[in-house]
């Protein structure tokens, strides 16, 4: 049915025409943010040109159309991740980070008491660490970490011990630094066996593999629009209808209320309880278009292609630089995704990124918002290359060549 061709995705992506320092762009930073296809950009432009209006309380034609567009994006996303309760389980936030804050500050504050444990991992993004530290300050919970082994995978050997007192296990489906893919289904089983819930940070996986929340049997899933070919300014929180129904409000304001009196207020029910103020309407339209675009590609084919890119790149990196280039992440393809962090002997990641930029190659230097993980491996930074559905083997050719320049330049 689908006929996924990464070259067609590339020609659908306007930014791929960009020339940088005389070279066609080689975009290897999809883990930071992906490049939207024309269909997404145009869906938003068309929205503003034809039907923009505030949603929810309008009777006139464009307000009805805007509301329909907003709500149908919610349905598209529910469908994309197989939400059993449909669109009534999809909350729109501003980004994945807000989604985590929503879980911590609404569900967490209502359900956790001093001494309760939130178990996360050493490979989490700050978005899945700091909100728990903040909750600890007000609620006195314990934040515990699953260690990461020298093989760059979660060390689950003591998982049953670590689960003592845990009310929530919150874990990334794929590390944005290591590329490690975690065994979510297995962890969900562990969490539930111990009477805990499980939240999944799917920011890195949602555009790179199929997500089926029912099959995974998880309780919360969060992700961001801009990492799945969609726009900035929108994120998603999915949770089961029964959990959502019991969560107290988060931000207060218009739209999230059933009534406001001089002496208090009554919150609304459903996802709207968590969507205070004018929501990201155009952004939802763009995200809906992104999801439809991804569905058109077929996630199974995307996975296969990105695996082949990653495998090839890992081999060439290992072979090409006489041991000077070290991959910080699993070296075999079992359970790893298309994110490759590099540590180059004698060349700082900043300098790598700078030299590569001269060849039009976009890689990201830094701690990637995962400082505990960086400390775990004694690194201040890595240079990270990551693929998307528009990436080609020729991107790796350019990367390897430019990396060669960087390595020889710093001798």
């Amino acid at each position: 049915m689908t006929s996924y061709d990464p070259r067609r995705v590339r020609s659908d992506t306007p930014l791929m025409n960009r020339v940088i320092n005389g070279h066609p762009i080689t975009y290897l930073d999809s883990a930071s943010s992906s490049l939207p296809p024309r269909a997404v950009i145009e869906a938003m432009s068309r929205y503003y040109e034809l039907r923009h209006a505030n949603v929810h309380r309008g009777v006139f034609q464009t307000a009805v159309e805007a509301t329909d567009a907003y709500e149908s994006a919610r349905e598209a996303i529910a469908n994309f991740i197989g939400a059993p309760g449909g669109s009534g389980e999809i909350v729109f936030t501003k980004n994945a980070t807000e989604s985590f804050n929503l879980i911590a500050k609404s569900w967490g504050r209502a359900n956790l008491t001093p001494g309760d444990v939130v178990l996360i991992t050493e490979m989490e993004h700050h978005a899945n660490i700091v909100p728990w530290f903040q909750l600890r300050e007000v609620n006195g919970i314990e934040v515990r970490f699953i260690p990461v082994g020298d093989d760059f995978r979660l060390d689950l050997s003591n998982i049953d011990e670590l689960m003592t007192g845990v009310k929530l296990l919150s874990v990334t489906s794929m590390s944005n630094v290591l590329g490690t893919i975690n065994p979510i289904k297995e962890l969900a089983e562990v969490a539930h066996r111990h009477g805990a819930l499980i939240a999944v940070d799917a920011a890195q996986s949602v555009a790179h593999s199929a997500t089926d929340v029912r099959d995974l049997d998880v309780d919360f899933v969060i992700f961001s629009g801009h990492k799945m070919l969609g726009p900035t300014g929108i994120g998603v929180l999915w949770t089961r209808e029964d959990i959502l129904a019991d969560m107290p409000p988060f931000l207060g304001g218009g739209g999230m209320i059933a009534d406001v009196r001089l002496d208090g207020y009554t919150p609304a029910s459903g996802p709207t309880r968590f969507e205070a103020g004018t929501p990201p309407i155009a952004e939802a339209v763009g995200l809906g278009a992104a999801v439809r675009y991804l569905e058109g590609l077929g996630m199974a084919d995307v996975v296969r292609h990105e695996r082949s890119l990653t495998e090839d790149a890992l081999t060439r990196l290992a072979d090409g630089f006489a041991g000077r280039v070290r991959v910080i992440g699993p070296h075999d393809m079992a359970a790893r995704g298309a994110v490759i962090s590099l540590d180059v002997d004698g060349v700082h990641p900043h300098d790598i990124a700078q030299v590569l930029d001269q060849f039009g190659v976009c890689v990201r230097p830094g701690h990637h918002c995962a400082k505990p993980l960086m400390r775990r491996f004694g690194l201040a930074a890595t240079a990270r290359a990551s693929f998307g559905p528009y990436s080609l083997h020729s991107d790796t050719d350019v990367l390897i060549e430019a990396l060669g320049h960087a390595v020889s330049m710093f001798g």
């Binding site: 320092n21 004698g346 060349v347 700082h348 990641p349 900043h350 300098d351 700078q354 030299v355 001269q358 230097p365 830094g366 701690h367 960086m374 201040a380 930074a381 330049m409 710093f410 001798g411």
Partner: protein, 153 residues
């Protein structure tokens, strides 16, 4: 590549590979100041010995990119043994060097004039202004040194 060669001049690569005045000084008596660039993760510790109004010794430890490392090495060589007044002058000249490009763009006026001969090897850092994101790498050591001097007052 011409831009890149402007940035990574031979002198810079040399100071990056063989940084001068690397190490620590006993503190006290040395002044010890930490510098930190949260965006890059660059970290420096600068140690200063001041005797009779002279910066008699300086040592630097830390890690960072070639620009921040070579800039700190070049700085240490430029200021070591100088009077505090001279050190402040050198800092001023260096900061001017780092803003020449930007201020030229911003105000469209006469570019501020920096006497390149007066600053010697430091002139090698001139290429950094073409890469605005890297300016903060080059200035980290200098800001840290300034903070150290402020502790003297």
């Amino acid at each position: 590549m011409s831009n890149l060669e402007d940035l990574y001049r031979e002198i810079i690569l040399d100071h990056y590979r063989s940084p001068r005045n690397r190490g620590e000084l006993a503190s006290p008596p040395a002044i010890r100041v930490e510098g930190f660039n949260p965006l890059c993760g660059d970290e420096l510790v600068v140690y200063l010995n001041v005797e009779d109004g002279t910066l008699s010794d300086i040592k630097i430890t830390g890690h960072g990119c070639s620009i921040s490392q070579s800039s700190s090495s070049l700085m240490s060589a430029a200021v070591k043994g100088k009077s505090l007044e001279q050190v402040r002058e050198i800092i001023g000249t260096f900061k001017q060097l780092m803003t020449v490009h930007e201020s030229t763009l911003a105000h469209d006026g006469e570019p501020a004039k920096v006497d390149l001969r007066a600053i010697g090897e430091l002139a090698a850092l001139q290429g950094v202004v073409k890469f605005p994101v890297r300016i903060k790498c080059a200035t980290l050591a200098w800001n840290t040194l300034s903070q150290g001097l402020d502790q003297l007052d």
